[in-house]
Symmetry: C3
Subunit: 268 residues, 3 copies
Amino acid sequence: MTDSLITLTTDFGEDSPYVAAMKGVVMTINPAARVIDLSHQIPPQNLRHAAFFLAASLPYFPPAALHIIVVDPGVGTDRPLLYVEGNGLRLLVPDNGCWTTLPWGAAGPLVIRLEERRFWRPEVSATFHGRDILAPVAGHLSLGVDPHLLGPVATDWIRLSLPEASEGPKGWKGEVQFVDHFGNLITNIPAAALGVPPSPERIVVVGNRKLRGIRWVHSYAEAEPGALVGLVSSAGTVEVAVNQGSAARRLRASVGTPVRVARLPGEE
Amino acid sequence: MTDSLITLTTDFGEDSPYVAAMKGVVMTINPAARVIDLSHQIPPQNLRHAAFFLAASLPYFPPAALHIIVVDPGVGTDRPLLYVEGNGLRLLVPDNGCWTTLPWGAAGPLVIRLEERRFWRPEVSATFHGRDILAPVAGHLSLGVDPHLLGPVATDWIRLSLPEASEGPKGWKGEVQFVDHFGNLITNIPAAALGVPPSPERIVVVGNRKLRGIRWVHSYAEAEPGALVGLVSSAGTVEVAVNQGSAARRLRASVGTPVRVARLPGEE
Amino acid sequence: MTDSLITLTTDFGEDSPYVAAMKGVVMTINPAARVIDLSHQIPPQNLRHAAFFLAASLPYFPPAALHIIVVDPGVGTDRPLLYVEGNGLRLLVPDNGCWTTLPWGAAGPLVIRLEERRFWRPEVSATFHGRDILAPVAGHLSLGVDPHLLGPVATDWIRLSLPEASEGPKGWKGEVQFVDHFGNLITNIPAAALGVPPSPERIVVVGNRKLRGIRWVHSYAEAEPGALVGLVSSAGTVEVAVNQGSAARRLRASVGTPVRVARLPGEE
């Protein structure tokens, strides 16, 4: 039953017992469930990081997978918990918008509010809905429960609005949207802004630092170790990196740092 | 065979090859075993942290699960290794007490000393009993070996004694027993100490800091971001937290920091 | 089908979505694959750390396991990707040598270059061959694809040369080859250098620090907490450790720090 593939993405870390408790609850309901860790290192309550993480990982999973996401600044308030389904994705997630930037297709997702307490743990704490609501609901879904039994269809939910890059007369303005484990800076500026092929004349500004003559490469290792390079990220946007080093540290940049890509003289 | 669910909790970290070697040993003996990570981020040799972790996670697992715990300051000495069973829990663990604060029920656990070398790896190193004894024993148990074949029943073992909160004329005295990944301070003072409902007049002292007018909430997000709040932890004790922040950092508190909850004037 | 056991070892960390994407790709091709994390905490691009990690973990797995290793300073260049098989091990790994210090036996490994694009993702990025080549190839192999279909047999590949200890008139000279999560210093000097039993007269030098009268033990806990001890590592080499503490911090030592073990007066 491939249906029993359940993934976990949280900001719990692994020094705390929260992830372990969730796994136990799922497996008590469905001992055959296969629970897969995606990450427990989402920075605490960081919805933007979560949104990038989900967009860069969930679409690679088979449609039968059920993804539990617990990054939940509003735990314990009356924010709803949701089951979301569409375009080959199935999620259980608090209503905080981090899932809304996934590719839901033209039809949009089916969204159901988790209200049927018979699929929850008998006692629900105020601070740990991941263990007491999302995990047991996942267990029941993996056993074949019809999602429509979980609660009413929702027609409204919180949408995460992420900063978008914009094009002006001088070129593109955007920002760093993700810094990966290696310190690579992944911006939100579309790679097309670079022209084909990108020119070394093109100036990139990261924060206050003007990078003249940046080397445009297809991959990090084309440059010598320590070289600052620009390339197309695996997300299809402009990326600034240091081969075998950290561009984040070198340029003192982080999520939200402004980035500009200048228009070349004479370029339309 | 749901019996083949084996969980791992260690202080090994994931930069070292020790966890990987244990997984390999289990799966060489039982290729169908499902090995689940609970945590490898228990602080090195920290039995108190391990005890809290186990109590907050193992009871959520199905009874068929077999839990390997390797937090083992005494590795290589003649401290025994134990199989422990009771009240729906099955453990493999060094005799260091970290498991004794789990709820074993009135009957108490069945404890067996691992002495039968035929269930161990042929060569046993002095420094890595997790790989050479606990992992192969887990593999054999998951294949249906009777625990009584592993060695003699033990009647004595080390008990971990954790500091307990006490009630005096001025109120409750206790301490921080766990700091979670978010910096929330989970004390050992029973939530009942707060009264129902808790009063904002009630003074909480963390270390040397008197928290007057602390806001008592059901969950973090009831207060504005950055607010210091008190609540009932998921462990049923008094918890001090900062909404979307770290109470540990704000109050410079850690495990063992004294906490007092004052009696209200006129309160019995 | 035990064939479907696939392990993952990377330097990706878990804050980035890269590991999750690889798991998704494998499971989309083979939903029944069991994907096991070995580590995602290999220090970035550190081939020596990876080599030690692999040697201390992979040999414990059953021969049917397929191990994906992504520590890949050359991603995006034309360095080949390899399938390697022999002596009970099966690997998918970039051609960077980190796997060459595993025990391949007298016959040596069968090495195949991954060149057949029909087993890759349809679009291959320049920066993420783990997701676009290694993960799909692993999925197909786990479904029973003959490795010879993946590409031509290779007869040449990069070999990692690790510093070796040497014996001279004054004793052994070597270095720290691995520092584990506890701060234990695992050297490359064979344990035989110590004599049997090791003598407290034998001087060990770590960096510039002469350790006279070091206590030779079988395991950390034979000494009092905080004591500096020498012992035989689980890799069969000289190890310097602090019981319940960090020798790396105490001696300010790291990978590459020179270590000498002196000959005793009168010793051959």
